[in-house]
Amino acid sequence: MRFNPKLTVLASLIASACAVSPQATQQLEEARAAYRTAAADPAVQASAPAELKSAQDALQDAERMAQKGEPSELVEHNAYLAEQRARIALRTADIRRSEASIAAAAEERRRLQVEAREREAAAAREQARQAELQAQQAEMARKEAEARAAQLEHARIENEKQTTAQAELGAELKRLESELADMRAKQTDRGWILTLKNELLFDAGGATLKPGAQRALDNLAQFLTKYPDRDIAIEGFTDSTGTKELNQHLSEKRAWAVKAALVARGIQSTRIDARGYGPSFPVASNGTPTGRQLNRRVEIVIDPS
């Protein structure tokens, strides 16, 4: 044993007081690097400033001690604290980030729930609106169907009435026909038409009603009185013998004479339209005496409505 061990220990202690040991130097470098990393991170600056400051304090102590030649043990110790605190600062920033993300997730869930509730409420409102709309449409359709049914029923009743009225009218006219030899009742597209031969009403070439026509006119007036809703048209026709102008004039005068006779029997003149057509619209050939006789006529057209 060449050296006293105590002496060796003491020598190393003295040396450490004068020059920084390699371990302390290495620890100091590691502390500087760790501190730089932490200090350069904006997240650390923002969310772990206290931790960063305590790392900085320890590093500054270590640097100062190293410069003043204080024991390496103390330099190394403060550098170690600086390195650990720099790590703590970095982790603390990570913790704050995670906490923020937890809060953000909670906020996001709250927002999603609010949105979902709002969507559900909107859907419910829309459903209610649709139901209301459908109910309205159904009600409208029901009313329309009712109106249509009522219309159809009304039309059916009207039609029935009309049919009954037409049947009654026909029966009445047939009765008139049977009473007067020179009158014919006929149902046509224009309604019922009573055809009276001129011979029944007028003398040849004249437009004055014969006394023998009175019965026919009485019957006609009675008929019109019985059916106050029905208007009539009195249409005079001639055969083709003689001038057209004369025949036209004659047919008009005869139609007017019949109208006047009916008005005289109490029928409103506004219900009666009297016209002459001369030889137009023949119903038979003008080449035979029988045909000409048929063409000389007065037609009473009974308004079908």
Binding site: K6, L7, L10, L13, I14, E73, L74, H77, Y80, L81, Q84, R85, R87, I88, R91, T92, D94, I95, S98, E99, S101, I102, A105, A106, E108, R109, L112, Q113, E115, A116, R119
Partner: protein, 113 residues
């Protein structure tokens, strides 16, 4: 020559007060870190506990300066252990929170269809 040097070196220990404050802080920090760090930062916790034990031993021997240094390091190690463990825990919670948000969004989308 040797005697005054030895006296100086030993005197450094003898004149320092017992680092009660540092010891207390180290013990408290190790206690705080232990429940969370045992699972998520076992290495960092072991280092802190080891240094605290050495600090306690140094106190027993009356090596106050050495005990102070070990106690300060034990406190820093324990705080790092706690921070590492807490970071693991919080990251897990964040992932769960995000999963929860995703699940809720999917559920809402399913219900909306």
């Amino acid at each position: 020559m040797l005697v005054p040097l030895a006296a100086l070196a030993l005197g450094a220990c003898a004149t320092t007060d017992a680092p009660e404050r540092e010891m207390g802080a180290a013990r408290a920090m190790v206690s705080q870190a232990r429940p969370v760090a045992a699972q998520n930062a076992p290495q960092e916790l072991a280092q802190a506990q080891q240094k605290l034990a050495r600090a306690e031993a140094a106190m027993q021997r009356g090596h106050h300066e050495h005990a102070r240094i070990l106690a300060e390091q034990a406190e820093a190690d324990a705080k790092l252990a706690w921070t590492v463990a807490e970071n693991v825990r919080v990251q897990r919670s964040a992932a769960e929170a995000q999963d929860g948000t995703r699940a809720l969004r999917e559920e809402i989308e399913r219900n909306a269809q």
